[in-house]
């Protein structure tokens, strides 16, 4: 069964304290891995797509990396406005996404 696990469930950081979120997956065939950001009460906002092991993508303070079994979302010098839930999803078939349950990030000033 295709499965996506995100850790930790929740993470509290001080402003400027860098860290990483993990997304591990067991799927029969990975077609792509997606990272989304979700603010409370809102829909997920697309961040990155990664297609193959070794690939990296960056956007402001965020950097996503991919290996054959997991992906990391690195947050460098976070700010309070980076507080959100970060969702990981893998595409296992035509447009079929399997989502993790997310990591709730809180960045304190």
């Amino acid at each position: 069964e295709d499965q996506v696990t995100q850790s930790p469930e929740a993470l509290r950081l001080q402003e400027g304290e860098s860290s990483s979120l993990n997304c591990s997956y067991t799927v029969s065939g990975l077609r792509g891995l997606f990272w989304y950001r979700q603010d409370p009460g809102k829909g997920p906002e697309f961040l990155f797509t990664l297609y193959s092991a070794g690939e990296e993508k960056e956007k402001e303070r965020l950097k996503a990396t991919l290996t054959k079994k997991e992906s990391f979302l690195h947050i460098t010098a976070p700010k309070p406005e980076d507080s959100a839930t970060y969702l990981c999803a893998v595409e296992t078939g035509f447009q079929k996404l399997v989502f993790g349950t997310g990591t709730r990030l809180l960045v304190s000033p």
Partner: protein
């Protein structure tokens, strides 16, 4: 920018009522999706549509139906709402093309069934 809109942000309905959730996208996307999101369970696919009048069941279609009469609009219907359908409902759309076209989400509808 891709824009996906949903008809209501918050909705309160009674058990047994017929409920319509509407979604509209303005990017001429072929594919549209309905998910529900519950704490601890993540997003789960209810139905998707890859063309007008076409639909496919997702992982949890029971108790739901959908309608897609126009390319830009995808409706989710709860034929007889029940309390276990209280949830956050999210609509998404994506372009046809490669299999990994990004899904873009709407703001969500928080549905409470009393």
């Amino acid at each position: 920018d891709v824009k996906v809109t949903q008809s209501s942000r918050y909705l309160v309905k009674r058990t047994g009522e017929k409920v319509f959730l509407e979604c509209v996208q303005d990017m001429d996307h072929e594919n549209m999706f309905w998910y529900r999101q519950d704490p601890g369970l993540g997003l789960r696919l209810i139905y998707f549509s890859y063309d007008v009048k076409m639909k496919e069941k997702g992982d949890i279609p029971e108790g739901y139906s959908v309608s897609r009469e126009k390319k830009e609009r995808f409706s989710l219907i709860l034929e007889s709402a029940s309390t276990n359908q209280t949830s956050m409902y999210l609509c998404a759309s994506s372009a046809r093309g490669g299999s990994t076209d990004t899904q873009y989400f709407g703001p969500g509808t928080r549905l409470t069934v009393l």
